[in-house]
Amino acid sequence: MMPVDTRKTDTSSAPETAVAHYRHRWRFLRRFLSHPGAVLGGAFLALVAVLAMFGPHLAPHDPLQNNLGQVLQPPSGDHWLGTDDLGRDLLSRLIVATRITVQAALISLAVGVGIGVPLGLAAAIMPPLLGGLLMRITDGIMAFPPILLAIGVLGALGPGLTQAMIAVGVVFVPRFARLTRASVQQVYHETYIEASRVIGTPLRRILRWHVLPNITGPLVVQIAVTCGFAMLAEAGLSFLGLGAQPPDASWGALLGRALPYVNTAWWLGIAPGLLITLTVLATNAVADGIGDSLGRGSRRQK
């Protein structure tokens, strides 16, 4: 007597074809573009990318040029953001520091993804007992605040941006390992993949054709989120003087250098902090946008 809804002709569980992939991509783009925050964030990140690539050509002054006659100048027509304690143009230093900041974030991301994803993949395919043990160990690392672990590693290696960011990257490993393991396990035990294994499809083919497409989405979101964390961690370490070493500077290092002059030249601390905040804000907005635009989540919300 209860009427059956005949409109349900859902094909989403069918194995995905190239056409479906193509259609998904368009839908993703359309959804992403409907998030004003994400689009704005993406535009800002594009600007940051341009600064990172062409910074030295865009800077109005030589960022390393000391000018002891013009130290700690407030913003003016010539020096839009003022000058630092050695008379260097802050705007130019900020622009040039972009590359170091972005590089630092990328290093830690590379470490996190490069170790975390294979680890998670292995843990998912391994016998459950072994995989579980592996995850327990990564859990232990996850409990660590990135900055403290980095301090521990730097204690042995000495201050320096590269080693600092590798250490930060190590803290990201568990996040990627957990995520990968969870998403792989989700698909790996689907009936159609089990069937595929039974008929003898090689593991590599299964991973390439069924598992990988399913983990890219969550992975991209996680990368975007982690990128914000990485920037904050880098800024913190450089702020402490343990990251970028003079005369190089990252945004965090510029902020740290402004600290002693908070009484006399307060403007030095505004721009670097604002830039860090806006970039992290943009990264988070893009992460949210991607997360919302990837089919599954929004379909579930209905």
Binding site: M1, M2, P3
Partner: protein, 334 residues
């Protein structure tokens, strides 16, 4: 006020609207019925006909912000409930009107022992001490048939089966001996054998406490077993109201007839079914809302205005332009 003869609960012209992406849409229209003291009334209809919405509206439990009363009144013993303040409602709920729900598995708080959840009601409305409330909670658990109540009173909901949880929920609902129990499909989520036990329990409680029950159900077996009177809803409207014997044996509305035919097989025949699906709230048919699925429908049935309720001297009311005898004639003509 003649409190003893007036009905306990009067629902008058109740129209409930829900928020949709286009605005507010009415999902019940002009629903009116009464429940007398100690009486069991069954509210019957297909999924989505508005019976649960009506039930939730009686103790004022419609989800705030997504549903609202657009028109009508709910009166308990002469008191217009929707004129109550929030605190006024809180004094009525659990004390005068209680409600039990379809989902016993999720309706208990997972972090508190069941005894505490029963005692809470008693402490709130009866002002009992912690100790007295605890003692009464054990009695209530025993009353609703939870074995080994003195020990189980300390147990957590996840240690109970679905049927046992519904018993606990009934104990919570009856803790303060309310005058009206609204039960929204209390047995739907349970095993068939457990269903019968819960229905027996409800009837027991009715007899012990002189409780009036408004039971929402789509199961005509349940209706036949417990109801004194039946209110049939279709597409947000009451289409028939009758004493249970009249309803089961001589249903007046074509929808009621179809419901009964679909539930009780003709001797040697197949189970009948109702073609089509109930209309969506935003696309109600003109005229009689049932006409697209009605075997008796004539062209006039399609014409506005909506069909008014007709009453018979027996106390039965129904919403059809044809009397039962006329329907028989129509059927014979085909």
């Amino acid at each position: 006020m003649s409190a003893s003869t007036a009905p306990l609960l009067t629902v008058q012209n109740l129209t409930v609207e829900v928020r949709t992406h286009t605005g507010w849409t009415a999902i019940t229209r002009d629903v009116s019925f009464q429940v007398d003291r100690g009486e069991t009334v069954c509210l019957v209809g297909e999924s989505g006909c508005g019976k649960s919405t009506t039930a939730l509206a009686i103790p004022g439990l419609l989800p705030e912000g997504s549903a609202r009363i657009a028109n009508g009144t709910v009166t308990l013993d002469g008191q217009d409930l929707y004129r109550l303040s929030r605190r006024g409602w809180e004094d009525i709920r659990g004390e005068q009107i209680s409600m039990i729900f379809q989902e016993p598995m999720t309706s208990l708080h997972p972090a508190f022992p069941v005894g505490a959840q029963i005692a809470e009601s008693l402490r709130r409305h009866r002002g009992l001490s912690r100790r007295a409330a605890h003692r009464r909670a054990i009695e209530l658990l025993d009353l609703v048939g939870v074995p080994d109540a003195a020990r189980r009173v300390h147990a957590y909901p996840h240690e109970f089966s679905g049927g046992m949880r519904q018993r606990v929920l009934i104990a919570i609902a009856l803790a303060c001996e309310p005058r009206l129990l609204v039960a929204d499909e209390p047995t739907t989520a349970l095993d068939v054998t457990v269903q019968a036990q819960i229905l027996d329990l409800l009837q027991d409680m009715r007899d012990q406490f002189g409780l009036a029950i408004l039971l929402v159900t789509h199961d005509l077996g349940v209706v036949a077993e417990v109801a004194d009177r039946v209110v049939v809803m279709y597409a947000g409207e009451v289409v028939e109201q009758a004493p249970v014997r009249d309803f089961l044996h001589h249903p007046a509305h074509p929808y009621s007839q179809a419901l009964i035919a679909a539930a009780i097989p003709e001797p040697g025949g197949e189970l009948a079914w109702i073609p089509g699906a109930p209309p969506l709230p935003e696309a109600m048919p003109s005229g009689c809302r049932f006409h697209p699925r009605c075997r008796y429908a004539t062209p006039e049935c399609r014409q506005p205005p909506e069909v008014p309720l007709r009453s018979e001297p027996t106390g039965r009311t129904y919403r059809c332009r044809f009397a039962p005898t006329e329907l028989d004639a129509l059927a014979g003509r085909r």
